[in-house]
């Protein structure tokens, strides 16, 4: 069942790849600065977090005396979370937004969330690339442990994609999902130690918050980028299992409901 869907995605790779190019071209087609905006946006994010938190507020990460450490901590969480949230936000509306195409053309609809993931990956690659340059300039490039980052990113993408497809399918039938996701993502952001270090929380709350599958993922990024350490692989195991289950459930739900979904659009 999963194999058939993966095969369908593979045979429509031309469409997926073409859509990524078209989306990128269309986004900046009418702007004077063009694709420069793709760089300016993440640059602004990095600057804001660096300047406001570490320079103006002079916030320090507990256990370090380096002002830059906190801004690296912030960026490593904010940028990766942004990637996660974008996949979920865009996936949950992807079927509704493409209703016109879904109703008129016969193609594997599962390609649409793949395009969402691809698009989010492109923006993330640009912003994260900038961030890496910024690290290199500061002389803080973590080195070989960056390889671990790729693995964590894969886990995160699988999780976001599975979760996003589930929400996307449900949203066709229950439009409440779309409204709820915005609120849930805000809470989720603040219940994940992105802006603050987990150590500032009381121990009882800490163990509670560790149930959040994104905590281990974001902590892994922070450990790699701020401290140059390999992530705690064991802590990532539950998230990996959840991510795999989310993906399986997503494909199952898609198989079961895709024909009904077309009738509902």
């Amino acid at each position: 069942m999963l194999g058939m869907q993966l095969k369908a995605i593979w045979s429509y790779r031309g469409f997926i790849w073409g859509s990524l190019q078209r989306d990128f071209q269309t986004r900046y087609r009418k702007s004077v600065l063009g694709s420069l905006w793709a760089v300016l946006n993440p640059l602004a994010t990095i600057l804001i977090y660096t300047v406001i938190f570490s320079q103006l507020m002079k916030a320090r990460l507990p256990g370090t005396n380096d002002t830059m450490a906190y801004s690296i901590y912030l960026c490593s969480g904010v940028l990766t979370w942004g990637f996660f949230a974008e996949i979920i936000n865009r996936s949950q509306t992807v079927f509704i937004e493409n209703a016109n195409m879904i109703k008129k053309l016969n193609f594997p609809r599962i390609c649409l969330p793949m395009i969402v993931v691809g698009n989010a990956a492109v923006s993330f690659a640009i912003s994260f690339g900038l961030f890496i340059c910024f690290l290199a300039v500061l002389g803080k490039f973590p080195g070989w442990v960056m390889m671990g980052l790729v693995v964590v990113l894969v886990i995160q993408v699988v999780f976001a994609m599975g979760f996003g497809i589930i929400l996307g399918i449900l949203n066709v039938f229950f439009r409440d999902i779309g409204q709820a996701v915005g609120i849930i993502l805000q809470f989720w952001f603040w219940f994940t130690p992105i802006i603050y270090p987990i150590s500032i929380l009381p121990p009882s709350i800490q163990s509670l918050i560790r149930l959040n599958p994104m905590v281990s993922v974001i902590s892994a990024y922070q450990s790699i980028l701020v401290y140059g350490n390999w992530p705690d692989w064991l802590s990532l195991a539950p998230t990996t299992v959840i991510a795999a289950l989310a993906c399986l459930l997503a494909f199952h739900l898609y198989k079961k409901r895709s024909s009904e979904m077309v009738d509902e659009l």
Partner: protein
């Protein structure tokens, strides 16, 4: 060989009384279904051969679009089965699912990728599509800036860029100027000669009768008639006024013509004759000679008022002429069961040579679509010959005369 087989196909939509019941049904496995099924299509059974052109007609909501969507593969069937040999290309509800923000060119490429064409082939087809759609520089503008005609032209050009085995066209050919219509019909005809099967939904009787080999009439999700275009279109026409399949009867007459009758039956036409000036029934009339159409109607119940009329159609089903008692300023009133009403319509047979059919109607009001007592298509067949007047083409005898003025360039001649 059948290229498309639909076997007892049915399509039902789930309808829930409210959102909560859907949620309840999903979350509680094993619970009894909370939805009820709305059957948009039921027992659809037909086979189509390669190169055949099938027209699908029906009132709004009859299930035409659902049927085409199932064949196009965008919607799944609920019961029965479908077998398709070859590639299907569909123009559903005036569009191709174009993305409004992408340019025409981007959309063409996208459609090509969705059809699964290799990119070299898309690049090769692109100039031909641009040329056929003929929308000029708009090809590089976002599709949202297009007029509906332009969108349709591009969609048609894309859908027919490569000859499909089955081409589905839903109401599309009515859009676009006549130049484009001709161009698209030409392309369709070429495809058909090469073996493409065409499924066409249209309300345009002319289009259906001129290109279809067979017509299927859908009514409330079922096939109520399948047959040659004229016969099926007469049935559909009768259905439009009767709105009930049971009130329609079709009988093959001795002369080969199929007569379609519909209506409530308050009044029935029992005899129709075309008479010459001597009062003798004729089957053929000379162009330009006076004739009388005699319609005898039997009244079956008390009827306060009645309008009697007739239509003459050519062999393509195009209406040549039609009139009724109301328009002629005559009222027929106060009829009771058992009465016989005989109408004599007198006119000159100003038609060109050919075969024609007469339809008769008796109704309570001027339009036979409301208060239809009886509508009878194909009640009489007659032919017109032309031996006395100069031979002409077409069906309207306009009796042209000619005078010629000749002038040599040396002489004074006013060039307007």
């Amino acid at each position: 060989m059948s290229i498309l087989r639909l076997n007892n196909l049915g399509k039902a939509y789930k309808q829930y009384p409210n959102h909560w019941s859907r949620l309840a049904e999903w979350c509680m496995p094993g619970s009894r279904p909370l939805h009820h099924l709305f059957w948009a299509l039921q027992n659809i059974h037909f086979h189509v051969s390669a190169g055949e052109t099938i027209g699908i007609v029906g009132m709004n909501g009859a299930g035409k679009s659902t049927l085409l969507k199932i064949i196009a593969g965008t919607t799944q069937l609920t019961t029965g089965s479908m077998e398709i040999v070859g590639r299907v290309s569909a123009l559903l509800e005036l569009g191709m699912g174009f993305h409004p923000e992408f340019t025409g060119r981007q959309n063409v490429v996208m459609a090509g990728q969705l059809f699964g064409f290799p990119s070299e082939e898309i690049q090769r087809l692109l100039p031909e599509i641009e040329d056929f759609a003929d929308i000029g520089d708009y090809i590089d503008q976002p599709v949202r800036t297009y007029s509906s005609g332009m969108q349709m032209r591009l969609a048609f050009a894309v859908a027919t860029a490569k000859r499909p085995d089955i081409l589905i066209i839903d109401e599309a050919l009515s859009v676009g100027d006549s130049h484009f219509q001709h161009k698209s019909f030409r392309r369709i005809r070429t495809f058909r000669e090469e073996g493409t099967t065409l499924l066409l939904v249209s309300h345009d009787r002319g289009a259906i009768q001129s290109i279809c080999d067979r017509v299927i009439v859908l009514h409330e999700g079922k096939i109520v008639k399948e047959g040659p275009p004229e016969e099926a279109m007469d049935f559909y026409h009768a259905l439009l006024s009767a709105r009930d399949v049971k009130l329609i009867r079709q009988e093959r007459q001795a002369y080969g013509q199929v007569q379609t009758t519909s209506g409530r039956g308050d009044v029935t036409v029992i005899e129709i004759n075309l008479l010459n000036p001597e009062g003798k029934p004729i089957e053929a009339a000379e162009t330009g000679t006076p004739v009388t159409l005699e319609i005898k109607a039997q009244v079956n119940t008390t009827v306060p008022e009645m309008v009697m009329g007739f239509l003459i159609k050519d062999r393509f089903g195009q209406i040549m002429y039609g009139i009724n008692s109301h328009r002629l300023g005559i009222t027929i009133q106060h009829l009771s069961a058992g009465d016989l009403v005989i109408g004599h319509f007198q006119f000159e047979m100003n038609l060109g040579k050919g075969n024609y059919t007469i339809s008769t109607g008796v109704s309570g009001q001027e339009s036979h679509l409301a208060d239809n007592y009886e509508w009878r298509d194909g009640s009489l067949v007659f032919s017109v010959y032309n031996t006395k007047k100069p031979d002409f083409v077409g069906s309207a005898s306009l009796e042209a005369t000619l005078t010629i003025q000749q002038a040599s360039p040396q002489q004074t001649f006013s060039p307007l």
